[in-house]
Amino acid sequence: MNFDFSDDQKQLRDQARKFLTEKCSPKAVRIVLDGKAPYDKKLWKGLAEMGFLGVAIPEDFGGAGAGHLELCVIAEEMGRANAPVPFSSTVYLAAEALLIAGSDAQKKKWLPAIASGEAIGTLALFEGKGNPSPKNVKLTAANGVLNGVKRPVADGAVADFAVVAARTGTSGRDSDISLFLVDLKAGGVEVKSLTNLDPTRGQAEIAFKDCKAEPLGAAGEGWSILTQVLDRAAVLCAFEQVGGSDRALEMGRDYALDRIAFGRQIGSFQAVKHMLADMYVSATLARSNSYYGAWALSTNAAELPEAAAAARISATQAFQHCAKNNIQVHGGMGFTWEFDCHMYYRRANAMALGLGSLTYWEDQLIDRMRKKNAA
């Protein structure tokens, strides 16, 4: 047993941290936050040059062919830096869907373009309120064209292509759902940006009107593929959340050391210390659950569904907890636009919803634990 990342993987994490510290300062994040750019294009290009976008994409498809443990350590750093780029949509969702279900031609077309930073991808699943469920997919696919509206679609306004969940049957079973690949630049779509909690990662509404689409994976397999994609993305997002949790904790700790009130460092008051200690506890539990998820993801273990749900829940709770208490430690200054605390608060709460809500994943976890116990 060795329940840790390898030295090479840790080195990659250090490299990613160094790169992001230089290229993704809070000042750079604010350009996107303030609406002056839809995402940080220069950073995106840099991530491609570093090989980070294609780290888990096989060499045959233009990637570095490293693996998912390597992607996990990069994800952690992306979360820590609050990177304002469509990384999760492109790399965790679109690329993973292609890797699982794409034909050779589809992989050849899109994966090298993802790795080189030329193509941004996303997953178009949700249609208004509700969690991932076949019955919430109303958009129809017939004769190779899609009709319906997806919202919110993460990074939908900047994406070049989307993996779209569509209804191809009415039996009431999971097999009613199929996946399609849509070139968003080829017409048949209307894209509208949506104001959202975290402006550093855009959300959009995409209306598909007789939009041409090609199937991704076999007909009727859509839900099964999606479940795998969401599980894999849950682990990767958990690492972003762990990185964000750590950064929020650090910010709170640093402020508690610097700020003087009542003639002493506020970090010497137990009310403040204990709040920070509890943040550390959440972050540590989330990290450990995420490591288990990383192991399951990288080995495609039978434990992945349960491990992914546990990582998702633990990391979501930790990031929300650390981000909100970081503001509390900062007091009034934490509630200003000027201080960076709210960027993590926004990101934490947006990420808590992106792949489905906390209650959804809680429900999933219990289902999966029961399935395992019954097996």
Binding site: D4, L69, Q270
Partner: protein
């Protein structure tokens, strides 16, 4: 990152498994499996005797105190092998409860500070469970503030004479030896005037009085010392260096990872799977599932945190105070879990007799024992201070007694 046994680990596991299958007291397996916090006892046998017999059997075959050197009664095993053993020992590991303090804290302290002949004399019977040890630190005047202890040791020739009182001493009533932290110099600031010893609990002048706990049981004791004489060669560390010696003890407590903190989660999950509520099985209920899931990830988070620590340990890294989170998280969790399990029972949750209560009253027993887990071995608040100060690097509390001679520190609050 992997969870697979190496060939050597697999071989170790197979050997351990075979030996346990051939030797464990199987007649108690089911009862032990079902026992939980607040109720670890056997119906038709004295659990202490069963525990001692199992420990002796293990020691004779080289399966006791696996990580200790062979010369002192151990096996010289690696941290991972120790974890493998614990996994294989399963419910029989619950029989180790009475030895945890001796093996986890007293033994390592003796190993670090006693003279060689003492180590060879005292450690093997400690490992084999023939002799049980306790730890005499806490006092009425020094709980969280251990360094505020007042038990005096005064030099008299080659001996020390001890007078005072200890409290919350787990297992003192069945212990043969103890490690004892005393004040040898009250004229210097509190951390500087302490000295550590070990002593025979049967020494004249030692009196053990069980404490009846809020739960009704008696795991802890008061121990009184009246002119108890301890030879100087039983001193552990230098005179006045007792505080540092005690830190070694506590550090070893943290190194003895994997002892497995109990969270109550497996019991609750099992219960919710069979429990019927008005609208169907509890496990189908949305609110129940949400609670269960939140506890599930705490329990798994603790499990994987300890695996990370073991990985670090096996690479020669020293696990730090970050392991304090185990007790902190599990203590309040098991209390919440027990409270919730009773809530699910409605009015009948109040019935606690093993004959009449649901699942033999295990959650009622858990509830009553749980407050102790948040206090013993360092309160939740002390644990948070440790994390804040030693992991996060936040400043210590302002200590008004730090540079004051011990005998000048106030001893009364009001009046």
């Amino acid at each position: 990152m992997n969870f697979d046994d190496t060939p050597q680990e697999a071989e170790f596991r197979a050997t351990a498994r075979a030996w346990i299958a051939a030797n464990a007291p199987k007649q108690y397996e089911d009862e032990l499996r079902k026992s939980s916090l607040g109720r670890t006892q056997l119906k038709n046998a004295n659990i202490l005797e069963v525990a001692k017999a199992w420990q002796k059997k293990k020691a004779d075959a080289g399966w006791a105190c696996l990580h200790w050197p062979k010369d002192y009664g151990g096996r010289g095993a690696s941290p991972i092998e120790r974890v493998i053993w614990q996994q294989e020992e399963g419910p029989f590991g619950k029989l180790s409860g009475m030895f945890i303090i001796g093996h986890g804290m007293c033994g390592p302290t003796v190993m670090a500070f006693a003279r060689e002949e003492h180590k060879r004399t005292y450690l093997p019977p400690l490992a084999s469970g023939e002799k049980v040890w306790c730890q005499l630190f806490s006092e009425p005047a020094g709980g969280s503030d251990v360094a505020g202890l007042r038990t005096r040791a005064e030099k008299d020739g080659d001996e020390w004479v001890v007078n005072g009182q200890k409290i919350w001493t787990s297992g003192a009533h069945y212990s043969d030896y103890g490690i004892l932290l005393t004040r040898t110099d009250p004229t210097v600031p509190k951390h500087k005037g302490l000295t550590m010893f070990f002593l025979d609990m049967k020494s004249p002048g030692v009196e053990v009085r069980p404490i009846k706990q809020a739960s009704g049981a008696s795991d802890f004791n008061e121990v009184y010392f009246t002119n108890v004489r301890i030879p100087d060669h039983q001193r552990l560390g230098e005179v006045g260096d007792g505080w540092n010696v005690s830190l070694t003890t506590l550090m070893n407590e943290r190194m003895s990872i994997g002892a497995g903190v109990s969270t109550g989660f497996p019991e609750l999950l099992e219960y919710c799977t069979s429990l019927m509520l008005d609208d169907g099985p509890a496990i189908e209920d949305r609110a129940v599932r949400s609670k269960l899931a939140s506890w599930a990830v705490k329990a798994s988070g603790l499990r994987y945190t300890s695996m990370r620590a073991i990985s670090a340990l096996s690479k020669g890294e020293r696990p730090g105070p970050e392991n304090s989170i185990g007790k902190l998280v599990a203590g309040s969790m098991i209390q919440d879990v027990a409270t919730y399990a009773l809530d699910l029972q409605g009015a009948s949750g109040v019935v606690s007799g093993p004959e009449d209560a649901e699942v033999a009253g295990r959650f009622q027993a858990m509830l009553l024992r749980a407050p102790g887990t948040r206090v013993e071995g360092g309160t939740d608040e002390i644990m948070r201070n440790i994390i804040a100060e030693r992991v996060l690097g936040l400043p210590g509390d302002i200590r008004v007694d730090k540079d004051v001679p011990f005998n000048k520190i106030p001893t009364k609050g009001r009046g």
